[in-house]
C-alpha cells in the first residue's frame, strides 16, 4: 500500500495536455507524442459564444396525442440541459424553426431535421461538416441531428425520446460515448433521466472542450498510463474515477496508453480501468467510439479487450487505493498493468426497477431506502448464462447486497438477475455503483443504482383555478410532489407558484400553448425521477382554451448584412410572455440578441446579421411556451447599403461609464461606442451639458440626451432622469445622417463605481490603503432616482438617492453617511462611508455598493489601522 502511494506523486500542473476524454480526437502523428486535437465549435465564430440549433419546418408525422409544437418544447428543454453548465463557456440555444431544405447559412450552428429512416434507426447526430484545423483544434461547422420522419410510435413526451435527444445533442457539441452511466453513455448503461439529464462526466466533458475561466484551477486531475504487463501501451481503455456516492468522471487512453482525467471536483475517488464493450457499428471502435485519426485521416485502432482492475486493489474495490483530489492538483503516475483477454466476460449491464402504479420497469434502477430492503433487476451480455456464478457488490456505503451477493434468476424471466439490497437507518440517497465478479474478472457498472427516499411523483388530479386579476393556475394533486418539483407542459416550463405542505398540492402557471392542445403534464423531482416513470402511457393533461391559430407580421421585413437591427413583431392570437418567448430568424446568420415582450401581441428584438450572411429570405418564428407562430420568408437579409456617412450602432454598444457593462440607468453616465458618430473634430462640453455637440445629437425614446464628449467612435453622455425602465430606442444624428434605431435596456438602477478617495482627497486603492476611522468618498454612477428631482445635464444640487445604498468593505456591510449626487457635477453620485476603527486591517480587500438588490463592480483596496 505504501509503495503504491509513493507511485502516485503529487504534481501541480498549470496547463492541460494529453487529456483524452471521450471527444472526437485527431493526432498529429501515429507515433506520438499524443496530444489530442479535438473537434469543437470555434467560440470566436459564434455570437455570444452561442451555438443555435434550428428545427426543420418540414413536420414529421406525429403520434395521435402528440404535436410538432410539443416536440419543439422537448427540443428546447433538451438544449437547455446543455446550456446550464456553469463551468462551460459554450452556450447552447434553440434558434427556432427553419426551412432547412433550402437554407443557406454561413455561420456555425446545428440543425434538427426529419428524414425517412429505416426500421431500427431512431435517430443519428453529430458533427457533419468540419473546417480545416486551426489554433490547435478542428472547428465544427455544422452539426446535425436526424430524427425519423415517422414519429407516430415515438411520442415526444416519452422518457426514451428525451434522453436520446439529449444524447444526440451531446454528440453534436463534440462528445462521444462514455462508460459511466452519464447522458453520453450508450442507452443500455445510461443512468440519466428526464429529471436529471446530465451527469458529472457530461458536464466535465463539455467543460474540457469549452472551459470557463478557472475551471481547471478549481478542479483536480489524475494521470497515468495503462499498459500490458510487458509495458506495451493499451489504446482506448476507459479509466474511471468514482466517488462512492458522487461524481463519476472518466477518460480514454491514448495510443501509448497514457490518459488524463481532468475536471474532477475535489473529492475522494477510487479508480478503475475497464475495456469498453465490443463495437457493433462498422468502422467504429469499442463502445462504438469514433476512432482517433492521424494526420492522414487514417484511424488508430484500439487495443483488444483487457481485464478490469482497480487501482491498488486488483479486483477488490474495497481494497482500492482512494485518491483525494484537490483543486489545481494532479496525481501523476497512476498506472495500471492489465492482462489482455480474448473477450469480456460481462458487459453492457442494464439495471431496472418497478416504479409503482403498475407501470413498466424503468432504467436505471431507482430503489427506495425508506424500506429495509429493495430490489433491482440486472441484464447484461454474459450475465444471464452465469447468474449462479456471479457475485455482486456495491461501491458506496450504507447498503448491503443480500444473499451473499448472488443474484437470483428473476421468476417471470430468468435471464434477468434479481439483486436484493438491505439498508440501514443511515443509508444516504444518491448514486451507487455495482461491481460484478465472475471467474476472477470484474465488471463495473457506475450509477447502476439510484437510491431515493420517495417514490416517483404521480399526478392524480389537475384542476384549474382562476384567481381574480391573474392568469389561470393549474393545481396538481398527487403523490410525492414537493416544493422542489419542477413541472412541464409538453416540455415547456410551468412556473411553480406555491406548494401546500398540508395538502401536497402544487400550483403552477401554465406556459403559453396552442389553443385546444391537451398538453402532457410532467413533474420532475431532483432525485432523477419523474411522473413519466409511473404514467408513461396515460399522463394527465391540461387543455388550453380554444383559440384561433396565431400569426405574426415582421417590421422591418429586411435588414442589412453585417449590422445589428431592431425588429418589431406583431401577433394575432398570440400570447407572447416574458421568459417563455424565443424569436428565431431561420438561420444561424441572423441571431436574436435580445427580446423585449411588450404585450401578448407585440415584441421588439435586436438581431445581429453576419457580414457573410446569404442574401435570402428566411423563416421568422416566435415560440412562446409551446405556441408557435411562423412566417416563411418573413425576413430578408440584404446587402449592406445606405450612406457610408451614417452613424452605425451595435447591440450593447451603450455601456455604463464605470463598469463598461451594458447596464445603464436614468441619470447615469454612459458611453456609446460605434462608428460615424461624429463628422467633426472630437469635442468635450462644460456644464450645463448641451444636447448637441460637434453637430451630433443623441436621443433616447426621442428625448435629447445631454452630451459630455463626442468623437467619431465614442460618445459620453448622461442619461435623462425621466427615462422609464425598459427598452428605449436609441438614435444618433451626426449632423448629416441618422443612424438606424437601436434598442437599449434601461434599468431602474445600474450601480457602477469609479473611484474611492480619502477624506483628504487622495485616491484610495490597493496601493494606497484607506485609514480605518476615516470617511472615504466613493464616486459612482447609476444609483437611480434622487430627491429632489433634478434635470440631467445641469450641475447637480445636493440630492439624495431615493433608494437606500449599502457599501460593503472587506466583506462588512456599512451604512453610508451620505449617498446622492455629487454637487456641481452631472451624472456622478457621491457616497460617503465612515470606516469603523473596529474593522480589521487588510492588505488586499474590495469595496462595492448595493442598491435595490443590484451590486456594483468591486474596487480593489486595502485597509490600514487608524
Amino acid at each position: 500500500m505504501k509503495r503504491l502511494f509513493q507511485l502516485a506523486a503529487l504534481v501541480v500542473l498549470a496547463a492541460s495536455s494529453a487529456a483524452a476524454y471521450y471527444h472526437f480526437v485527431h493526432y498529429a502523428s501515429r507515433v506520438g507524442p499524443y496530444a489530442p486535437i479535438y473537434e469543437k465549435f470555434d467560440l470566436d465564430a459564434l455570437v455570444n459564444n452561442t451555438v443555435y440549433f434550428y428545427v426543420s419546418d418540414e413536420r414529421p408525422a406525429m403520434a395521435a396525442s402528440d404535436t410538432y409544437e410539443a416536440l419543439l418544447g422537448q427540443v428546447r428543454q433538451a438544449l437547455a440541459a446543455w446550456n446550464n453548465i456553469p463551468t462551460c463557456d459554450l452556450r447552447v440555444s434553440y434558434g427556432g424553426v427553419a426551412n432547412v431544405a433550402t437554407w443557406e447559412t454561413q455561420a456555425p450552428g446545428g440543425e434538427i431535421v426529419f428524414e425517412e429512416l429505416p426500421p431500427g434507426v431512431v435517430g443519428m447526430g453529430g458533427p457533419v461538416t468540419r473546417l480545416p484545423q486551426t489554433r490547435g483544434f478542428v472547428p465544427i461547422h455544422r452539426s446535425r441531428l436526424i430524427l425519423s420522419r415517422d414519429l407516430t410510435s415515438r411520442p415526444s413526451a416519452s422518457e426514451a425520446f428525451f434522453t436520446s435527444l439529449v444524447h444526440e445533442i451531446g454528440h453534436a457539441l463534440g462528445l462521444q460515448h462514455t462508460q459511466t452511466g452519464s447522458a453520453m453513455s450508450e442507452g443500455v448503461i445510461r443512468s440519466a433521466t428526464r429529471a436529471r439529464p446530465l451527469a458529472a462526466d457530461d458536464t466535465v466533458g463539455l467543460s474540457l472542450l469549452y472551459p470557463s475561466p478557472g475551471f481547471l484551477t478549481s478542479t483536480g486531475a489524475i494521470a497515468g498510463r495503462v499498459t500490458t504487463p510487458s509495458g506495451r501501451g493499451l489504446h482506448l481503455v476507459s479509466v474511471v474515477a468514482v466517488n462512492p456516492s458522487g461524481p463519476v468522471v472518466s477518460a480514454l487512453t491514448a495510443p501509448d496508453g497514457s490518459y488524463r482525467i481532468e475536471g474532477l471536483p475535489p473529492a475522494s475517488y477510487i479508480l478503475y480501468a475497464q475495456s469498453p464493450p465490443p463495437g457493433t457499428q462498422p468502422g467504429l471502435g469499442p463502445g462504438n467510439l469514433v476512432l482517433p485519426t492521424d494526420d492522414t485521416g487514417a484511424p488508430l485502432n484500439a487495443s483488444g479487450p483487457v481485464e478490469t482492475q482497480f487501482y491498488g486493489g486488483g479486483k477488490d474495490p474495497h481494497a482500492s487505493l482512494p485518491l483525494g483530489v484537490a483543486a489545481g492538483v494532479t496525481f501523476e503516475g497512476v498506472d495500471f498493468r492489465l492482462a489482455e483477454r480474448s473477450s469480456l466476460p460481462v458487459y453492457d449491464v442494464t439495471t431496472y426497477s418497478f416504479p409503482g402504479n403498475n407501470a413498466p420497469a424503468v432504467t436505471p434502477a431507482f430503489v427506495n431506502t425508506t424500506r429495509t430492503t429493495g430490489t433491482l433487476l440486472a441484464f447484461g451480455t454474459g450475465l444471464s448464462p452465469n447468474l449462479r456464478n456471479v457475485t455482486v457488490e456495491l461501491i458506496g456505503g450504507g447498503v448491503q447486497v443480500l444473499r451473499n451477493g448472488n443474484p437470483t434468476p428473476y421468476g417471470p424471466d430468468p435471464r434477468f438477475g434479481e439483486i436484493e439490497l438491505a439498508f440501514n437507518p443511515f443509508t444516504s440517497t444518491g448514486s451507487r455503483h455495482l461491481v460484478f465478479s465472475l471467474g476472477g474478472d470484474v465488471y463495473v457498472r457506475p450509477g447502476a443504482v439510484q437510491l431515493v427516499s420517495r417514490a416517483a411523483p404521480l399526478v392524480r388530479d389537475a384542476q384549474i383555478e382562476t384567481p381574480v386579476g391573474n392568469g389561470p393556475l393549474l393545481v396538481l394533486s398527487g403523490d410525492n410532489l414537493g416544493p422542489d418539483s419542477r413541472v412541464f407542459l409538453d416540455g415547456a416550463t410551468a412556473a411553480v407558484r406555491s406548494f401546500d405542505e398540508i395538502t401536497g398540492r402544487l400550483r403552477v402557471s401554465p406556459p403559453p400553448g396552442p389553443g385546444g392542445r391537451q398538453a402532457v403534464i410532467s413533474v420532475y423531482n431532483p432525485d432523477g425521477q419523474s411522473s413519466v416513470f409511473v404514467q408513461p402511457a396515460a399522463p394527465l393533461t391540461y387543455t388550453y382554451p380554444a383559440a384561433e391559430p396565431p400569426a405574426i407580421t415582421v417590421s422591418p421585413a429586411a435588414g442589412p448584412a453585417g449590422r445589428d437591427s431592431v425588429v418589431e413583431i406583431q401577433g394575432v392570437n398570440t400570447n407572447f410572455a416574458e421568459a417563455h418567448t424565443v424569436v428565431g430568424f431561420g438561420t444561424s446568420d441572423v441571431v436574436t440578441r435580445r427580446v423585449w415582450v411588450l404585450s401578448a401581441t407585440r415584441l421588439l428584438a435586436v438581431v445581429s446579421i453576419s457580414p457573410r450572411a446569404a442574401l435570402v429570405a428566411t423563416t421568422v418564428s416566435v415560440q412562446s411556451g409551446t405556441q408557435l407562430a411562423a412566417l416563411a420568408g418573413g425576413f430578408r437579409v440584404e446587402a449592406a447599403s445606405g450612406s457610408s456617412l451614417a452613424p452605425v450602432l451595435a447591440f450593447q454598444g451603450l455601456v455604463n461609464a464605470a463598469t463598461q457593462q451594458p447596464r445603464v440607468a436614468p441619470g447615469s453616465l454612459a458611453t456609446l461606442y460605434g462608428s460615424g458618430l461624429s463628422l467633426a473634430a472630437p469635442a468635450t462640453a462644460t456644464l450645463p451639458l448641451p444636447t448637441t455637440l460637434a453637430g451630433t445629437t443623441v436621443t433616447l425614446n426621442d428625448q435629447p440626451v445631454p452630451l459630455l464628449a463626442v468623437s467619431a467612435s465614442q460618445i459620453n453622455m448622461q442619461l435623462p432622469f425621466t427615462l422609464p425602465a425598459g427598452p428605449a430606442v436609441l438614435r444618433v444624428h451626426n449632423g448629416l445622417e441618422s443612424s438606424q434605431p437601436m434598442l437599449v435596456q434601461i434599468d431602474p438602477v445600474a450601480p457602477g463605481l469609479f473611484r474611492a478617495f480619502s477624506s483628504g482627497g487622495a485616491v484610495v486603492d490597493a496601493n494606497n490603503p484607506a485609514r480605518l476611522g476615516d470617511t472615504i468618498v466613493l464616486l459612482a454612477t447609476g444609483l437611480g432616482a434622487v430627491a429632489p428631482p433634478v434635470t440631467a445635464g445641469a450641475p447637480a444640487p445636493l440630492a439624495t438617492t431615493s433608494s437606500p445604498v449599502r457599501v460593503t468593505v472587506g466583506g462588512v456591510e456599512l451604512v453610508p453617511s451620505y449617498a446622492g449626487l455629487a454637487p456641481g457635477t452631472a451624472g456622478l453620485y457621491q457616497v460617503n462611508v465612515p470606516l469603523p476603527a473596529s474593522l480589521s486591517p487588510a492588505t488586499a480587500t474590495t469595496i462595492w455598493l448595493t442598491v435595490e438588490g443590484q451590486s456594483s463592480n468591486a474596487l480593489a483596496t486595502a485597509l490600514r489601522a487608524p
Partner: protein, 180 residues
Amino acid sequence: MRVVRRSLLLILASLVPAAAATLERLSFEDLVTRSTGIVRGRAISSSASQIGSTIYTRTRFEVLERWKGAEGTQIEVFEPGGTVGRSSQSYSGVPRFEPGQEVVLFLWTGPSGRTQVTGLSQGVFQVVRGDGPDARVVRKPSGEILLAPGLGAPVRDEELVMSLGQLSARIRVVLEKNKR
C-alpha cells in the same frame, strides 16, 4: 416484504446510441419481417448526391441471391453521408461498402422509393469466403434485447455467425411463418 412478482413489462429501452446513431435493436425475426427486401449482393460502385438537405451515398449492388423483394439484377442502396461539390456530411457508424464487397443486406424501401439498410448496420452481414465450400456470414452482436410490452415472445440478442446456408434457411423459416 416479499417482492410481488409480475410479468416483466419493460419499456422499450433497447436503444443503442452509437457515436452518431441511436438504434432500436431488432431481432432476427424483426429484420426479416420489417425489411422490404433481402438480398445477397456484391458492391459495384458508389456515388453521392444531395436530396433535400441531406447528402446520401448511393451504392449499386449486383444482386447474387434474393429472398425477399422485387426482382432485379441490380439494386441501389442509399446511406446518409458523402461529399457533393464543396459540401460534405459524415455520419459515423453508417455502413460503407467497398467495390467487390459481398454482403447479405436487409433493406427497407420507404415511401420516397429510397432503399436503405434496415436498422443501419444491423441489416448488414459480411460474407466471408474461406477455403471450404460454404461461405460464412458474420454480424457482430448488437447487445441485449429486452421484452417490449405487447410482444408475445422475448426479443433476443444473438451473435450471428453462421454459414450462408444456415442464414438462408433461417430467413426462409421466418418468411414462411409470416405467410401463415
